[in-house]
Structure formats: structure tokens, C-alpha cells
Subunit: 388 residues, 4 copies
């Protein structure tokens, strides 16, 4: 039987990148509820992310979103981050908020619009050169709302051409990570709707093109851990966007909707070499805290991933292999469930304390005075959100 | 066999209420794309709706949304509508865009917030008294994002209490119409998520409480026409919000995603007495034209409903009853399909022309100069949208 | 904080009825895999169910399915059960395996077929009189495969009439429990597809008509615990059919697919008075063990329900109410998760041992020799299955 | 504008392969309803299929399922088919009905079981050599019901190895066509659940490995026509299994559930070169006629495909390209809808008559006496079904 002390050394490998935009305001098409103390600048977002890392030891990197996090001097922003104990991470492109992109970006029928979108991405690679970021993450809102609105086949060809230009600009240490999404904001077809499409494009592009799996971007009932396994088997899993959902792309706190699914995903990650020092899979959050507080929301999220990673590491691999080989369906399933039902919270609290971290990061945050400080300090100005 | 001339007289009964907000800007949480010529005032919205009615003869009423369409003098607004050939219709409440409603409105744990939401609805009934509207339509964004966030049972009880206050304020000619929605903007639970919940509340309230069925507000795979039939059988179908969807609540043009579903819905409406001079079921559109033009989008929508109503009327009821009684599955289905596949477009064009309407309302709109006029006139000011 | 010893007394109330058919062979339309030692008679099924109860103390009743479990002398069968330490429970009707029911049973267009189905149900009530069963459970396969195949409105009316005859036959201590199901075996419409339909019929029938909620019978994404709460609120939750599913009505072991969902369901049951000495809600399993062993599959299932009931009882109700009242979304959710993540397995093993039960019922079964005995004894004859 | 006479010449290319098993009994796990006149032998199935072709001119080939259609002498069976005016087509493998396959076939943990499944497939290729069939179609029921039951990664590796052996046995004119399916009969994971997985395996195997797209094998809401387009773009669409569904894999008559979806699928087929003399895409039906008559069910099905192909051919490609290029969303969509709503039934009846076929094949079947003949002749013996 595997115990917590057996698996504790592996926990030190865990790094979960935080999205700068999780600290800004977010909402639905019906309403964005503003919160007190929300950052107004990239620096303030980084400060908040650094606070999460300080209290958990799990989140040493901050992913940026361009142009939301555009600054004049990214070297300086990198230094600011370093001063706060974190690093700049993945650069996320945004080709969905300019009026020109109403009918598409990399797939748009008009070559001038495609060029504009490509140029935006090339500019993002320039930023990566400054920040030392490895990954350019591309999520496209491209798609159509009505059958016939555009020719989906031509859009695929245009997509392939556009991605090629961007891919060829990358340095040997940089990667292009292409995210897929079942639907939204397009409501009839999406140009990269499933892992198969992302995989086909990445396979055509080359070794440094990888797939990004956002856990909320699948059809109802999809077995996500199977896709994780398959992409790892094919050598094409680049990164995760973690969140959870009951319905569509709800962007709730990871592990909140179906914790057992998160367990199964992490089990497959570990099983197929996607976790640990030798893996290049990036783990990120991509969430919205529409109604709950954002900083403790992010703390809760990274803790959820850590707790579930510990549970997944606890699966007794040898016993499981025996049960699987002998076709003992109930015993094999029970070994999974035993790991899932093991309460690791107290062991993790001790482990954190042993590493100089707060045993209870949420309580530590509540006691830190940080909330009160940012609420007092961040008055006036334009709060960050998806629109800015 | 039933022919177009047999059913033409029944087409004169058709009235489809237009939502004032369909003429304003709309979009997704990612982006709202503005359009030229979008109305800035309730009057301009009404003018646009009136243009749709002028060209189709199908849309004599405009539904208002409060506070989006709040004016100082509703009598004057009614006169304005009359001058343009239309009437004011259903009053839609909005208890989801005030900061106080972040955790609910009629179901909120705090009695003061509930009172505020109730007061808003009472004010809407005051407006109905002015406008002569029959229906108060209540769609609630109330729900929670996380298990445990609030007590769902208590919320039901509070909902029942709040609705009672509103219902009791209605006059004998007024109705409360309670809409249900599967999810969004709440992502764990919604307080009125299904027809059963709306029905249970309406049954408790009284005869003038009815259910609003929005065709986009169901779980994947739901047989909507069955619900239509059931609500008509139970005497509780108050109104339709028409739109279409491939995924969630996409709010696409009615009939665009699954025209055969629209056919089946209208067949059940007709079958169970929900259509025609003796029915009190209200037919409304509730759509977003995020990327397509709004006025022709509404014209297309009412034409889609009309065309499909004609097809549904064409079902040969006697032959169908025979096939059903004899258990001839293929023959019965074929009778439905025969009506659905009958091309009524040319007959409808003739019928329109015979009534002094344009044979092709879309072409008539394109030729009317109205688009150019509003684009030129409506410069400056604040374009209408969900936020205003 | 609530501890295991606080809630242990409440665990004694738990009774989970076992379905006789879970011990017979089952499968999919593609293949039914036979297993060794499968019962050939109602008596052998009862013996297997009694073994589950002997080892767990959780399953004192066996639900019968008529005609699968038809015997000449039900008094004798009851005595047989009593000798084995269990009682006969719910009587399940079967109106889907006779050729006459191809196009429906209680809803069939032909009055003679409806009468046949009604007579079957009346015969089931006769059996209830013999067995002392309280509940007549009606699940109908009735529906259609093609639009137009039959008139859904007339079928509702015929359903209401048929149910009335059956309901009126019940004694004052007996109940009619009407199950709903989203789809299967009918693939276009189902006559009782959702809780709303079952509720409307039960409300019309009277106080002793209740709804049966099968956890696998919903559209994708449906919030089942909401329905549990609503039916309890309306006084109409009669019974549960427990199982789990990833896709359609998979009939997997309860708690296997989404354990957190089972937790939420049981939380709502407890919250609204559906659990305990004063509740008349019946808890049953309705599962298929297509590939896993059946007796340990049933043991695992009742243990899953017990473990999750314990976790649900552990929710700190006072703290939760405080967090909900103050609108602290994260804290409220955390209180739910804390209970869910509490590992009750060891405490439950001790509790079982303290009551003279095996600490590990699965291990006890494996050591009991029962498997070897039935494999040796039950040779020849016709193994029980859905067809017999 | 495109007219029927413009597109009529293209209709002559249409060939739709009939599945032999559509003429046998089929049903659900609840009940298989037998029908009169059902074939008892492969020859009788072929005779029925030939009748469909005789009346429609659309179905010159019959797909066989091994071992359901196993005969001693396939040359003789081929001659029998030729005598009846049809040819033997795709050979379908069956590795899901032997007890050994309970936990998998090509993916089974036990090498001996894998070898047995491979040998079955090699035997099928031997049959193809006799029948002159081009395609070996492999649909696997392989999967698991419970998390942990088997190692999904190892199963992929075993699948790749097994397929390689089969693929290498093919002659230069033969193809391996790998079908995917979302779920069923496995209820947790399926080894080939999506087009991406099938594509990845086929890409690894070689040029003569292709994907089979069954229209009923997708998650709810999946945009199937997008997958059609993508597979054609990637050169990997091997064949279609046509049917329709409202819920899961309902296997209803193609076009019955969502005719507009069938239109969109056929539009993309035509758009990307999958239809016509130069295409090697195979079009098959794969349906169950559980409650309706089988022969007219197949006639209705091929007519549905033909009617929808005609509509899809009617799309005005030039006007559509113009509207798409100019970004006129409403006009582009309208061009699709105009084709869809064109009533081609009467033109097709004339076209059929002009080619010596019955104008109304269903009526011709009813008048033919064939039903009465087979009902009289096929008495006794074992009716064909999925089990035989």
C-alpha cells in the first residue's frame, strides 16, 4: 500500500501557473459584478498572484494575456515579478475583442484581417523573447453562428497557413500551444472544436506545436482523461487549462464540480509521464471568480489540484496492475476509489508546515491583512476585466 | 390531403411579439460587437420593430424590458407605438443587473434584497396598468455557482413567498408568466430550472400564473414539443420565447438550428389548441443578433415562424389519426414529413402580396432605405444594449 | 464541528432495498454475458440478497419484478425470505416484454392492450396484498420512436385514465410510485420522461401516488439533487432507484461515476427530511452488473450509499447556515467539501464490527465460500435474466 | 440559381450500401420484438436488400456481418447476390459476442484473446478475397465500465499492435475502415471513442486505413458535418454509417430525427469531394427497425438520403461564395436554407420514372406482394437477429 510519506517527495514538483485575468473582474453576458480591491494594472495582478504563491508554494508563474497585460517594458515587468517571488509564464493571445475579428481572426475570409491577427501573435512572440516565456498559447474564438455563414473547409486551410507563419517565427525553445473548445462564443461551428482538430494542426506544424486541453471545453459526457492519455501517448499534450463546469464552459474553481473527474485526469497525467521533473506539460488555471473572492478562489484552486494530485499518486500501481491483468473489475475499481477516498488534507497541512508554508493557506490569507490593504489602496482607476 | 388554400385562413391569426432588446447590441461574455444604426432609445427600438411589422404583418406587438425601456411617460410611449402601427406588449422584469442581486433576487437570503426585487416587479405591474399589457414575464437569473453556496430548499420557499406578493398585485386581466431556464448565468443550480418547477409554482399561485417556455432553455436532447403538449394539457402554457440553439442558450434565429424541431413544436401547439383566435398563448421572439443585422434578422425570424406554422397546419389530421390508430409507424411518420417537406414559400409570398404586404419582406427591407436612414440618423448617443 | 460519533446513531435507520433482478444476468443490446452461479429462481435471488444483508446489515428488503419473480405461492416466498432474514419489498410491474406492448401499454391506442396492462398491474396489487408490500412501482417503456407515430396528447390522457384504475385499487396502506425516464427504450418521445410529468400525474391521482427518482434517468447535466429537494418540498418523493452513469442509463454501481453527485443527493435527502425514522422515502438499487460479479457488486453498492450518507450527515449545518446567510460563497462550499472529503471508511468498519457485522463485508464475502457454493450448486436450469 | 435539371446528372452516382442485419430482428436490452417474414439466412437477407434496390435503384450493394452472415461458400453467395441484381460489399467484423470478449478484443489484456480477435479479422479478409469486397470495417465494443478496470494507455498500445497485424494482411486494393463510437456497450471509456482516436490510428497504419463515421456515434451537440469536412480534408474519410438519433445511438431511420443535419452533412460531403464518381467514400446505412417494418424502413432510408443529396446539390455555390466573402451572414445562411426548403420530391419521382423505376417506391413495395410472400414463406427456422 502506498502512503503519504511515499508520495510526498513527488509533490515538490508541482507548479501551477496562475492566469493574470483571474484576479480581474469577470462575469457572464448578463452582468459582471465588480469586487473591491480588484487590480487595475498588470503589476497589481502579479502582486495578487505572488500572494497566492507565497501562501501555497504552488504557483511560481503568472500567465499573461495580451493586450490585457500589455506594458511598455516587459523586462521591467519581469523584474517586478521576480521581486515578488514569481516569474512570467505563458503568453496568451487575444484575437477576439477587436471589431475586425467579428467573423474570425486566423481563419477570416479577408487576408488583411488574418494578417492583423498573425501580426498580433508575432508581437506576442516578441514579448516572449523579452519575458523568457516558453509557450505561446492560442485560443481562437473563430467560428460561425449559422450554417453557410462561411466555408468551414476554407477556414481550416486558412488556419493552417496562418499558424504556419506564427510557428515559423518561434525560437527553438519556444512552443505554440493550440487550445480547442467545443463552442462559445461561436454557436454553430468552431474552427478548433476538438482535440482531433488541434492535434491534426499541431502534427502538421511540427514538434514544438502542442495541444492545450481546457477541462471545460468538451461536449457533455466526454471522457476527458482519455484525451489526456491519448495526447500524452501521441506526444502532443502541451498544457492544461484547469477549471470545472456543470454545464458549458462555466470556468468554476477546478475540482468544484466533479472532484472524481479531476482525480482521474491527474491519475492519467501521472500514469503517462505528464507529471514531474521530466515532463514539459504546463499546468495552468483558467477560471472566473464571478461571485466569489478572487485571491482565496485561486488559493482554493491550487490546493484542490495539489490535494487531488496527492490522491492520484496514492493509487497502488502494482496492485492495480494485478487486478487489471486478472480481470477483477471490482478490485481494480476499488483500488482507484481507495486512493480517491483517502483524506490527504491533514498530511498536506503538515507537509506545508514542514516547508515553512502556512498549514492552512486560506486562514493565513484571511489573517494576512492583504485583503484589507488592497481594498483600501485600489480605489479609483479602471479595474481589470476582460474588456481591458 | 390538406392544401395551402385550406390553411391560409388560419394564418391570419398569427401574432409574434418582438422583443425591444433584439434591436440593441448584444453579444457574449467575450465581446459585444456594435452595429451601425442601433437604436438609442425605446422609441427607436419601437420604430425598428414597427418596420418589421410593416413588412411582414406578423409582429403587431413590442415586448418591453424594464429598466432597459424605462421612460417617464408610458402613455406617451404607447401613443408613439400606436402611431407606428404597433402596440406595447409583455413587460419583462430585470432583477439580475443590480449589484444587490449578485446572490439572488426573489430568492435572496436577505429579505431587503427580496423586497427590492419585489418592488421592481410591482413597479412593472404599474407600468402594465399604463401600457395595457396583459403579461408580466419573470425570468430570474437566481441560482448558485457552487454546491452549498445557499440552501436550495429555503430559496424555493422564499421564491414562493415573493411570487405570491407579485401575483396578488395583478389585476383580473393580468397574468404572471414564469420562465424557466436550465442554466446560465448560474452554473451549479438555477432556482427555476425546468418546466416542472415553474409549473409547481404557477399551480400554487393561481389561474393567472402561467409558464413561459423559452425554446433555448433546456437540457441537451430534451423533447421540447412534449413539454408544449403537457403544459397545454395542464392549462399552464402562457407564452413562448422563440429562438434556436445548437449548444446552450445560443439565442440564434428561431428555426435556424433545427427547423424540424420548430415544426414539431408548432404542430403540438396547433394540435392542443395553443394557436388561433381562442388561444391565450403569447408567441414572442427572444433572440440575439450578435453578428448578423438586427432588423432583417427579426424579419427572417418571424417569417420562419410563419412558414413553419403553415407547414404544421398542413399535416393531414385525419390520415394521421388513421395511421396512428392502426399502428402504422412508417405511414404516420411519413404524414408528418410530407407536411414538413412541403415548400410553402411561394404560396406564402402570394398570400402576403394578396394582403398588401411585400412578397419578399427581406428584399423589401433592403430596398426601403430604412437601413441607410437609421445609419445616418443614429449617430452619437448611447446605443441600446443589455447594459442600458 | 460534526464528528462520526455524532452521526453514528442516525446510520442505524438506513435500509436499502435490493432488486431481485440485480442477481440475474444482464447486459446490453449487443450481448448478455452469463456468469457462474447466477440464480435460476426467485428463491435463489432472495438467498443472494439475504447474503448481502447478512454481511452489511443494510439491505433487509428485496424488491420483486413481476412476472420475472412470479411464483404460485407468495406467502411461501415471503416465509422463505423471512427464513433468510429479509422481507419482500416493492413490487415492480413489467409491461414492456409482451409482444402486445410494442407500441405502448397504459398509453396504447388500443383499449384492449391498455386493459391487459392494467390487469397486469391489478394482479401485482394482489401480490402486494400477499407479500405485505407497500409500494407498486410502475416504470413504463411507453413512448414512440418517430415523430407522428402516435398522438402524445392522447397518450397522456390514456395514461391518466389507466393510472386512475390502478390507483383506485390500492388499499389505504399501499402506494403507487411512478418512475420517469428521459429516454430508452423509446427513442423519440417517452410518455413519462421527466419529474414534472410524473408529478403532474401523481398530484392528480392523490396522496398515495408518489414519484420514483432513478438517478440514471435524466438529461445530461441535470441537477438531480435539485429535483430531490423539489419533490420532498412538494411531498411527492416516493422512492429512489440508485445507480450511476457516465452517459445514458448505464446502470453502473451507485457512486461509481460521480461520487460527489451522490453526496449532494444524499445531503438534500437529509436536509429535507427524506432520511430517517420519520421518512417514508424508499431507497432501492436498480443496477446492472454486466461484467462485474453480482453479489459483491451489490455489497459494494450498499456500502457506497452508506459511506456517502455518513459523509452527508457530517455537514456542519450551523456553520453552513452562517456562511450562507452571510453570503460567503467560498466558506459555504468549503463546508460541503470538508464533509465530502472526510474519510469515513475506517470509522464505518469499526461501527460495523461493533454491531456484529464484518468490518470488511467484501473480504468477508470472499472468505465465506458462498461464491464457490452457488457456482457448484447452480448448474443446469435457466439462469435468471431480463428475459425470464 | 441551380435547378433540379442542373443537378439530376449527379444523382446517378449515388450508391448506398445496405446492411444485411437491418432485415433481421433488432431491439433494445429490454425487448426484441420479432416481425413476420424476417429472413432466416444470408440469402434471404440479400433477397430483401435486392428488393430495396429493385425499387429505388439506390442500393446495389449489401454489407455483410461476420459471423452473422457466415456461409460455407462465399462465391456461391456472391453469385446469389448477382442473380438478384446486387453485389456483396463491406465486410463487418464482430468481436463483441463471444464470451472471451467480455473485457475487450483487440485491446484485451490477455494476448490469447487478442490473437483470437485478430484471427477473426484475418478470416474476414479471407472472405473479402472471395467476395471481392474492398472494405474491412472494424467497430470495436472494447472499453471499460469502471475507472481503473483496465489501463487505457496500454489498451491503446495493444490496439495499435493488433490493427497493424490486420492491416498488413490486406491486399493493395483492400482497406481497413475503423469506426469510432462515443459510448455503448462500454459505459466508462471506449477504446475508439472519437474521430481523433480513429484518425491517429489510421494515420499510423497507412494510406489504406480510413475512418468510418457513424452519424449516431457522437456526444450530444457535436457538429458532425465539421468532422466530415475535416476527415475529407485530411484524406481519411473512409465510409459513413448512416442513421439518426435523438438521444444516444438510437439507430433510427436516417434523416428522421434531424433532417437539416443530414442536409448539412451531405453538403460538406459534396463540398469536399466525398460524393461522385471520383470519390472512394462508402455510404452505408446502419440502422435498427425495432418497431417499424424493415424493408419499407430501408426504402424510406435510401430515399431520405437521395432527397437530401438532391437538396444539398441545389445550393447555389457561386452566390454562396459571394455572400461568404462579403460577410453577409444572413444572405449566406439563406442560400443554404433555400436549398434545404426546396421540395424535390416530385422532381425525384419524375426522375425515377424516367429511369424505369417506380415513382413511389414505398407504394410499389406495398403493391408488390413481396410482403405477403415472405410472410407466407418464411415460417419456421431461426429468424435472423443480432444474436445469430
Amino acid at each position: 500500500m502506498t502512503t503519504f510519506s511515499d508520495i510526498a517527495p513527488q509533490l515538490t514538483h508541482q507548479e501551477i501557473e496562475l492566469p493574470s485575468w483571474a484576479f480581474g473582474n469577470s462575469g457572464t453576458r448578463f452582468k459582471v459584478f465588480a469586487q473591491a480591491g480588484v487590480p487595475r494594472t498588470p503589476e497589481e495582478k502579479i502582486a495578487d498572484a505572488a500572494k497566492v504563491h507565497e501562501l501555497t508554494g504552488l504557483a511560481p508563474k503568472v500567465a499573461l494575456h495580451i493586450p490585457w497585460d500589455l506594458v511598455d517594458d516587459f523586462d521591467k515587468l519581469g523584474a517586478f515579478a521576480a521581486d515578488h517571488g514569481v516569474r512570467l509564464g505563458t503568453i496568451n493571445t487575444n484575437t477576439f475583442q477587436d471589431d475586425d475579428y467579428k467573423l474570425g481572426s486566423l481563419t477570416h475570409p479577408d487576408a488583411a484581417v488574418r494578417r492583423k491577427a498573425i501580426d498580433h501573435m508575432l508581437r506576442c512572440v516578441d514579448i516572449m523573447d523579452s519575458t523568457g516565456s516558453r509557450d505561446l498559447k492560442i485560443w481562437l474564438a473563430d467560428g460561425t453562428n449559422y450554417p453557410g455563414q462561411d466555408d468551414t473547409r476554407s477556414r481550416q486551410d486558412r488556419l493552417a497557413e496562418s499558424l504556419r507563419v506564427v510557428y515559423d517565427r518561434l525560437s527553438a525553445e519556444q512552443r505554440l500551444v493550440l487550445e480547442y473548445k467545443f463552442f462559445e462564443p461561436a454557436f454553430y461551428h468552431t474552427d478548433v472544436p476538438d482535440w482531433g482538430t488541434s492535434y491534426a494542426h499541431c502534427a502538421a506544424l511540427g514538434d514544438r506545436a502542442k495541444v492545450c486541453l481546457d477541462t471545460g471545453h468538451h461536449a457533455p459526457g466526454t471522457n476527458i482523461e482519455f484525451i489526456v492519455m491519448q495526447l500524452l501517448r501521441l506526444g502532443k499534450l502541451g498544457s492544461f487549462d484547469f477549471n470545472s463546469r456543470f454545464y458549458a464552459d462555466d470556468d468554476l474553481i477546478v475540482g468544484a464540480a466533479d472532484p472524481f473527474q479531476l482525480f482521474r485526469i491527474l491519475y492519467e497525467v501521472i500514469r503517462s509521464g505528464g507529471y514531474g521533473a521530466n515532463s514539459d506539460v504546463a499546468f495552468m488555471l483558467d477560471q472566473c471568480h464571478n461571485i466569489e473572492e478572487k485571491i482565496p478562489g485561486q488559493i482554493r484552486s491550487v490546493l484542490n489540484v495539489q490535494e487531488m494530485t496527492a490522491r492520484a499518486l496514492l493509487v497502488d500501481a502494482d496492485a492495480l496492475a494485478d487486478a487489471q491483468t486478472s480481470g477483477d473489475v471490482l478490485a481494480a475499481n476499488q483500488l482507484m476509489m481507495d486512493a480517491f477516498y483517502t483524506d490527504v488534507r491533514s498530511d498536506l497541512a503538515d507537509w506545508r508546515a514542514s516547508r515553512g508554508l502556512p498549514a492552512d493557506p486560506i486562514a493565513a490569507y484571511n489573517a494576512s491583512g492583504y485583503r484589507e490593504q488592497i481594498t483600501a489602496d485600489r480605489v479609483g482607476g479602471q479595474q481589470a476585466g476582460w474588456g481591458a
